[in-house]
Subunit: 148 residues, 2 copies
Amino acid sequence: MTDPASDGACVATGPGGATLRRLNLRADANGSLAYAEVGSGLPFTPKRMFTVWDVPSGAVRGRHAHRTCQQFLVCTHGSIRVQVEGREGDMEFILDSPHLGLYLPPMVWAELRGHSQGATLLVLASHAYDESDYIRDHGVFLAEIHRT
Amino acid sequence: MTDPASDGACVATGPGGATLRRLNLRADANGSLAYAEVGSGLPFTPKRMFTVWDVPSGAVRGRHAHRTCQQFLVCTHGSIRVQVEGREGDMEFILDSPHLGLYLPPMVWAELRGHSQGATLLVLASHAYDESDYIRDHGVFLAEIHRT
């Protein structure tokens, strides 16, 4: 089944400019394929990718913001809840299909929890790893977003 | 557990310059994280991403080569067998961990089969989608690789 009406559509907008997007989808009897290209569903050119898996139930991951790095999150198996906080407040997104992508701009705080059994997260990032780009102190994050 | 000795290492080389790579890994009690950056594990800048899932057992996917597009395949859940063919012959790679990435240069023929229950494939591609870049006829592929 092809659903061109939904291709690359933004389905929810959250704090700090975070957006949940429905990826382009092509599905038939041989399987489902969801895709995004730079300029069509993917808002930046990735320089880094990582996957996260084997996360125990009860664990919380993330708990940081980036000063400049943009990220695009896809839960490729299972489901994960992502709490996103920006200047306007916070909002929870549920990633439960490879068909969904969550775009996180810089300066949003994200916490990931509720990993189902076997949940796997893919993250595409706009920049190479740079520890100085991370804000890991929530108090520092709040001070910075309310100062600007 | 961190295994710096294996970070980004090439663990097998196949026909046409295909290479199986062990991604950089960071694992602890909160889960496992495998990563690659452009220039460190990822041999090109991605312009496109897609995921493939819900593939029935017995199905064969792929069955094409690209003239210019490079690809990087990661099985983010379950396992998939990838048969790669180049001028030198063919070779089968087994992708059974998000910790492994298979780099496919242009002008290799790839067929994917043996998808386990719940298997999910991530592909990063060096170019935007262009149907004219695909060689979908195996005879044409063989003629082209043996002509050059």
